[in-house]
């Protein structure tokens, strides 16, 4: 396996119906996927993640910039010479071949012995639970089964420098998805695979990736470990995209009273430390508009205001039980907040409650640029 380097890569499309304006699908993307690393390209549909992957695969031309696989610049190499294995959302199985032959195909092309082929296929089909359909043809399979066959075909390749996957488990049911997430991660570790994996599902990215590249509107928003993204989101987009239920946002302004600094709004007034206030002052924000972000799991609900916590009064709108936790929706003025509590809370819809959180759990963002204050 090998390292993949993406350096200042752009992708332009000429718009078909417009005034010849170019559409920028990927804007100046740079990141490195190290050898044996599991990297996720994460973002909503249309963010440029699939275009990026297709440029690495060689299925799309690179408009500008360079891509290196194992130190070799691959811009001008056709896909077959890039030493990559692929499993894409459209399965691209060979209809006349059985499942077994479909998976064996890349191995036969590389002149593996029959015994070796059998051994590889046994391992990968057990893992993906498709042993029982090996004799069937693709037309007879469900979408989920086809997806697993496509995945198996990508995983058996030993000579590949990198395995590229585009939403490989998105069509599967929740149960199987949960199982495959764990198994894929295991196999990636045990076989020492370098994987670049595209998904729109933050849970898939957080649970499998060593490194996540978050994209939106063609631009990379943040590159980091799952913990980085969750605990230190770089901007409002990442903060809102990572985590489920999503982070809550409240608008406010910074105010100074003597030596003390506060975040204020019609619904709250929270003291913040001097250091944070200074960082906010140097971040140019003439309108003094800020956004406070708080994760639903960092808020506690009570009948009284909690001392030394940041608190606000709110009204319970809905309670959503999710097994070991419940999500409580509350209203603060005209804003809606989500709060995650353990078990089932002893409150009812319509109740008036105090919501509180520790000051260190607070994320502060510049309302206009979206950038986090760190």
């Amino acid at each position: 396996m090998a390292e993949v380097r993406v350096e200042h890569v752009w992708k332009f499309y000429r718009e078909e119906f417009g005034l010849g304006q170019r559409v920028e699908a990927v804007k100046d993307a740079s990141f490195v996927c190290h050898d044996r690393e599991f990297l996720c390209l994460l973002g909503p549909s249309g963010c440029g993640k699939t275009s990026t992957l297709r440029m690495i695969a060689g299925l799309e031309k690179i408009s500008k910039g360079d891509i290196y696989i194992g130190g070799r610049r691959v811009n001008d190499l056709p896909p077959k010479d890039r030493m990559i294995a692929m499993s894409f959302e459209s399965y691209a199985l060979y209809p006349p071949l059985t499942v077994y032959e479909n998976i064996a195909f890349p191995l036969r092309a590389r002149k593996y012995s029959e015994a070796k082929i059998r051994e590889k296929i046994k391992a990968v089909t057990e893992l993906l639970e498709i042993e029982e359909i090996l004799h069937m043809r693709p037309a007879k399979l469900s979408g989920g089964e086809q997806q697993r066959v496509s995945l198996a075909r990508a995983l058996v390749r030993e000579d590949a420098q990198v395995v590229l996957m585009d939403e490989p488990i998105s069509h599967l049911d929740a149960q199987l998805k949960a199982k495959l997430r764990i198994d894929l991660k295991r196999i990636q570790r045990e076989w020492g695979l370098t994987v670049i994996y595209v998904t729109h599902d933050q849970l898939e990215a957080l649970s499998m990736a060593d490194k996540v590249v978050v994209m939106n509107a063609g631009e990379i928003q943040q590159v980091g470990t799952p913990e980085d993204l969750y605990e230190r989101p770089a901007n409002l987009f990442v903060a809102g995209f990572i985590g489920e239920p999503p982070m809550n946002f409240l608008s406010c302004a910074l105010s100074q009273e003597g030596e003390r600094y506060y975040l204020v709004s019609p619904h709250f007034k929270w003291a913040i430390d001097f250091e944070t206030a200074k960082k906010m002052e140097v971040a140019e924000n003439r309108k003094n508009q800020w956004v406070v972000g708080i994760r639903p799991g960092d808020i506690v609900i009570g009948l009284y205001e909690k001392e030394r916590y940041c608190s606000f009064k709110s009204r319970v709108k809905a309670i959503e039980p999710l097994g070991e936790v419940s999500v409580v929706t509350v209203n603060v003025g005209d804003q809606t907040l989500l709060i995650e509590v353990l078990g089932l809370p002893s409150i009812r819809e319509g109740d008036s409650v105090w919501a509180s959180f520790e000051r260190r759990k607070m994320h502060i963002f510049h309302a206009e640029t979206g950038k986090a204050i760190r």
């Binding site: 909503p44 549909s45 469900s142 989920g144 049911d173 929740a174 149960q175 949960a178 997430r181 764990i182 991660k185 295991r186 729109h200 599902d201 933050q202 849970l203 957080l206 649970s207 499998m208 799952p226 913990e227 969750y230 605990e231 995209f241 990572i242 985590g243 489920e244 239920p245 999503p246 994760r295 799991g297 709108k317 809905a318 959503e320 039980p321 999710l322 097994g323 070991e324 999500v327 929706t329 989500l338 995650e340 089932l344």
Partner: protein, 375 residues
């Protein structure tokens, strides 16, 4: 508002039994979720209630009236199909408005009222900017929302929603999950809803019916099911990661009845002990525990409760937002997953003292795989 009742309903397609002897009642205004893997019989059940599939045997009642032989149009139900079934030549607006314009209701709604209702439901489902488009110009997720909108725009006796948000992006799905519930409660229309996702089921369902291979496994509120899963299948589908299962035997140690798994003796809750008693000694059973119920020793809850400590090595840690999933391997061959808060610091290879509270342990019969409390 209407009550829906299924009485011993069976559906066969040739040799295949899709739904087997299914009975339940959906109360007026209730949202009942049918939860199960693909092929469990969820869609077939919905289609029989809608009247688009015949019932092989048994009866379906809406408001006390047997509807087996009523045409779909005469049942006053609205169904959102998984396959969307949109009119390709009509705009999104006209597709959604369609049910309001059908000949039976034409006189009921003015054009202004139709417009108001279409906009309301389109805004709710975030498709209000797509109203002028034709279905072929939409993505799969957008089509699914149009299909759902067309269903929700009416106020029929019963909503039948077949995996209505399954094909949406995770973010939107979770948001709509919360909002659908508020919508359904506000309209208080009796609803049957299918999903393969237990969180969706817990979140939306007033009650949940777990199905497998056409058969009802358990029906109840989410906490009834979560507190006491009826069999090993239910334990598997209502938790992610699924319930941990261990093969073991019932043993007695200093007069106390418990479960022996490998060489670990697990203490059980009084209700389970009463059920097992002496007659079960030495016999094989399955022990089950949800990953979220296993605690790290030292966590406050562990202090005064009855339970068993097992030491194991953290083999693998998976981050899931606010939670961490840890795969633990015990040297003697036992392995299990547990769920911890994000703050819990666990290093790979570290030895963990895991506390299994007695009242979180479920015991299942080895043969029938049923919870002994249900036997």
């Amino acid at each position: 508002m209407a009550e829906v009742e299924l009485r011993r309903v069976t559906k066969r397609y040739g040799e295949t039994i899709a739904v087997s002897d299914l009975s339940f009642i959906v109360q007026s205004g209730e949202l009942l979720v049918l939860l199960g893997p693909p092929g469990a019989g969820k869609s077939s059940t919905l289609k029989m209630v809608a009247g688009v599939e015949d019932v092989t045997s048994g009866e379906i009642l809406i408001d006390g009236e047997v509807v087996n032989y009523l045409d779909p149009a005469d049942r006053d139900v609205a169904m959102a199909f998984e396959t969307y079934a949109l009119y390709p030549h009509l705009s999104v607006f006209e597709n959604i408005a369609f049910p309001l314009r059908s000949p039976r209701r034409a006189r009921l709604f003015s054009e202004d009222e139709v417009r108001r209702r279409v906009l309301e439901v389109a805004r709710f489902l975030e498709i209000d900017m797509l109203l002028a488009r034709k279905p072929k110009e939409l993505s799969g997720g957008q089509r699914q929302r149009v299909s759902l909108a067309r269903c929700l725009i009416r106020e029929p006796k019963v909503f039948l929603l077949d995996e209505p948000i399954a094909h949406l992006d995770a973010k939107l799905r979770h948001k709509l999950r919360r909002e659908l519930k508020i919508w359904q409660k506000a309209k208080s229309v009796t609803t049957l809803y299918t999903t393969t996702d237990y969180l969706e089921a817990f979140s939306l369902g007033d009650r949940i019916a777990v199905l497998n291979r056409g058969m009802l496994q358990q029906i109840g509120t989410w906490n009834e099911i979560y507190d006491c899963p009826a069999n090993t299948f239910v334990g598997m589908v209502v938790s992610d990661p699924p319930m941990n299962y261990f093969d073991g035997q019932v043993h007695s140690r200093s007069g106390e009845i418990g479960m022996m798994v490998k060489d670990v003796f697990f203490l059980l809750s009084p209700s389970v002990r009463d059920k097992l008693q002496k007659a079960s000694l030495g016999k094989d059973f399955i022990l089950g525990v949800f990953p979220s119920k296993i605690l790290l020793q030292g966590e406050e809850e562990a202090k005064d409760s009855l339970g068993t400590v097992v030491e194991g090595v953290a083999e693998f840690v998976e981050l899931r937002g606010a939670r961490k999933i840890v795969f633990v391997q015990v040297p003697k061959g036992l392995s299990f997953t547990l769920q911890l808060p994000l703050e819990a610091s666990v290093r790979l290879g570290e030895t963990l003292k895991c506390f299994f509270p007695a009242d979180a342990l479920h015991v299942f019969d080895k043969e029938s795989r049923r919870n002994v409390l249900f036997l």
